[in-house]
């Protein structure tokens, strides 16, 4: 179980995490979704006691990560964003080292190494130096090193970055297996599809703040089944705002001289009346209609796309 209360982390004047609070429970995959620089990695860094929080409290399996760091770290397995492995060692030697660092030894360590090698499909390449491995294989080994000691809390920081689709599917299955086994999984990503398909609950993070959190259904409800209509062109904002104010079921998310984003109920049936109003106050050059999704929720909440 991870309990984060009013976490704040700042470096001098730069605030990386403003105020983040959430609870992730055993057997659950909790996602932190947000663009690069939103504060996801900093949050994971504080939970894993790599970084010391500037304010707030974090407890892992009941242990405060600042006051009782060693006990907290015994429950944690971390799969970092980078491939934090020794290239000149074999897969087995890497697992032996990281398992040893977590306190495993002897037959228990050997058995566990064989188990995770089998789980990640690397058993037949176990003795090769990993510099001969493909990127996907290294990612799987990176994951294996994080779970070799069967942690109760698993922190995954964008573990599928740069991974081929096949390895990604395999990795996501492995993450689900960990949660099924009772582990509390905290998963950060900026891939919407991954978050939608994997996470039981989600927190959307932007500029160091959680701007929404809940189950996927709860988050979708925030959109009230509205479509997202994005238009580019040349607009006169004041005139356009006035024209759109007469239409019902429309909410302006963003409006400037070149962009217009609208949250619209049943947009596909209302496009003719919408265009009539918009054309009176500008010229439309491009249109994108998006069904309700995390992407559209993110745009609705932040006024920008997740990949920006």
């Amino acid at each position: 179980m991870i309990e984060v209360e009013q976490l704040r982390k700042q470096y001098g004047d730069v605030v990386a995490v403003k105020e983040v609070s959430f609870t992730a429970r055993p057997g659950e995959i909790f996602g932190l979704l947000g663009p690069n620089g939103a504060g996801k990695t900093t949050t994971i860094g504080c939970i894993s006691s790599l970084l010391t929080p500037s304010a707030g409290q974090i407890r892992v399996m009941g242990h405060d990560v600042v006051r009782d760091g060693v006990a907290a770290r015994r429950s944690i397995g971390v799969v970092p964003q980078e491939i934090a492995l020794y290239d000149d060692l074999s897969a087995r030697e890497n697992l032996s080292y990281w398992g040893g660092a977590q306190g495993l030894r002897g037959a228990q360590l050997r058995d566990r190494i064989t188990e995770v090698l089998e789980l990640t499909g690397l058993l037949d390449r176990a003795k090769e130096p990993i510099k001969q491995f493909s990127g996907g294989m290294k990612r799987r080994l990176n994951f294996a090193c994080g779970i070799v000691h069967q942690p109760k809390v698993l922190l995954l920081d964008e573990p599928t970055v740069g991974v081929d689709p096949q390895s990604r599917v395999r990795l996501l299955d492995l993450v689900r297996d960990q949660a099924k086994g009772g582990a509390c999984v905290l998963y950060t990503t900026h891939y919407m599809e991954e978050a939608q398909s994997l996470c039981d609950r989600l927190a959307i993070v932007d500029h160091g703040n959680i701007i929404a959190q809940g189950t996927l259904a709860e988050l979708r409800a925030l959109l009230q089944e509205r479509d997202l209509l994005r238009l580019t062109g040349v607009f006169r904002p004041d005139v356009l705002r006035e024209a759109l104010s007469h239409l019902e079921g429309i909410e302006i998310i963003q409006l400037d001289e070149s962009q217009l984003s609208l949250s619209v109920v049943d947009a596909s049936h209302r496009l003719p009346s919408l265009f009539a109003a918009i054309n009176a106050a500008g010229e439309v050059r491009g249109t994108t209609l998006t069904q309700p999704s995390l992407e559209s929720l993110f745009i609705k909440l932040t006024g920008k796309e997740l990949r920006e």
């Binding site: 770290r73 015994r74 934090a84 020794y86 080292y97 040893g100 306190g103 130096p129």
Partner: protein, 401 residues
């Protein structure tokens, strides 16, 4: 505690997989040592030259001149060889001798009769010291001949003018020489000035000569290179994220660094033993001191490793760390008796060099190899430094993760 061994094993395995790097660190000083030993030879450091004599006189005078170079310590530095004019010129032209001395025909006769006689000395321009010494010796011989002419010129002329002397002439000349010696005895014996000579025993004849002089410094060059090279490994671990990952485990960062230190200690002990075996072969160093010497190399090498680690931890980027490392390593190696032994350095530089960490270590190693007693404070001091530096470096590296 167990993680220390796990961490050490990891580093030793990695080093074993990358033997080229280790061989490069060892190869540079080995190459320099080999070049120097090829140039100066592995044995005695004293110069050794050859004086070629062309004897056109074929008499006792030439034998006396040659004999002057076979006296005392000069005989171990200059070997004399009689040769023909043509061969002598050829060899001096090819630089195969230090000097060529031509004793012309009639030299002895002219010497006995007090006439002018010329000795021709051709020096090898490629050499400086030995031809200079030969010229000095000849100059002294010329002076001696002059004074002999002054005090016994008449007797010499008489002896040479009569051809084969009769018994009466020999007796007469002998009596005259006796009177001459009796007349000068009060100046020569006892000497007017009493010289008191105190011989201070100085151990300059260390076994192994030049090789023994060079090898401790060369060994420390290898140790310093290895220490510096292994210290840069922390950047690889930092870049890969391995350091961050260690920080998220229950293992302490001090144990992680202690493991690295243990690996360095073992590697340097092996390098020390290997280097000392080479030194034994090349320089005949005493084998009884090897275990202590290897231990010293390993422990002081760990100190150098932590010193280099500290520098690495002060740098903001890997590139800055590399520049800083080279900036410190090269001057210290040069000043610390690795390129130039302290015995061959100007005394001021030697004094400064012995104060550098590596130079001080080289001096202590020389003491151990010479069989001299090494202060236990030296070992204790290094161990204290290693312990202190270990704590500081662990804290600094942890902070920069």
């Amino acid at each position: 505690m167990r993680f220390i061994f796990i961490s050490a094993l990891k580093d030793l395995r990695r080093l074993r997989r990358d033997p080229v790097t280790l061989l490069t660190w060892l190869g540079i000083p080995t190459f320099i040592a080999a070049i120097l030993l090829l140039i100066f030879g592995r044995g005695d450091a004293r110069p050794n030259g050859k004086l070629l004599i062309v004897d056109q006189d074929q008499s006792i005078g030439a034998t006396l001149v040659a004999g002057a170079f076979n006296q005392g310590p000069l005989s171990s530095m200059i070997s004399v060889e009689k040769t023909s004019l043509e061969e002598g010129r050829g060899r001096i032209d090819r630089g195969k001798a230090s000097a060529l001395l031509i004793i012309p025909a009639g030299f002895t006769s002219a010497l006995l009769q007090g006439k002018a006689a010329n000795l021709q000395l051709i020096r090898n321009p490629a050499q400086r010291i030995l031809p200079e010494m030969i010229e000095e010796v000849l100059s002294m011989l010329t002076d001696a001949a002059f004074y002999l002419q002054v005090v016994a010129g008449d007797q010499l002329r008489t002896a040479s003018a009569r051809g084969v002397p009769s018994d009466a002439s020999v007796a007469q000349i002998s009596v005259q020489f006796n009177h001459l010696i009796e007349g000068t005895r009060r100046y020569l014996s006892p000497p007017v000035i009493q010289l008191g000579a105190n011989v201070i025993e100085r151990k300059t004849d260390k076994p192994g000569g030049f090789a023994a002089l060079m090898l401790p410094g060369m060994l420390y060059m290898a140790v310093f290179f290895i220490a510096g090279g292994l210290a840069t490994d922390v950047w690889r671990e930092r870049t890969s994220g391995a350091l961050r990952r260690v920080s998220t485990t229950p293992a302490s960062f001090r144990a992680f660094l202690a493991g690295k230190l243990l690996a360095v200690l073992l590697v340097l002990a092996l390098v020390g033993l290997f280097g000392l075996a080479v030194a034994h072969y090349l320089a005949d160093l005493q084998i009884s001191n090897y275990p202590l010497a290897a231990l010293w190399i390993a422990i002081s090498g760990c100190g150098l490793y932590l010193f280099m680690m500290l520098l690495q931890s002060l740098a903001s980027t890997e590139r800055v760390a590399s520049m800083l490392s080279n900036f410190v390593l090269l001057p210290l190696t040069m000043l610390g008796g690795s390129f130039f032994p302290f015995d061959l350095m100007p005394s001021t530089f030697a004094k400064i060099g012995r104060l550098t960490p590596n130079g001080w270590s080289v001096s202590q190693l020389r003491k151990i190899l010479d069989g001299a007693a090494v202060s236990p404070f030296a070992f204790a001091g290094v161990i204290l430094f290693v312990a202190g530096a270990w704590l500081v470096v662990a804290a600094r590296v942890r902070r920069t993760v």
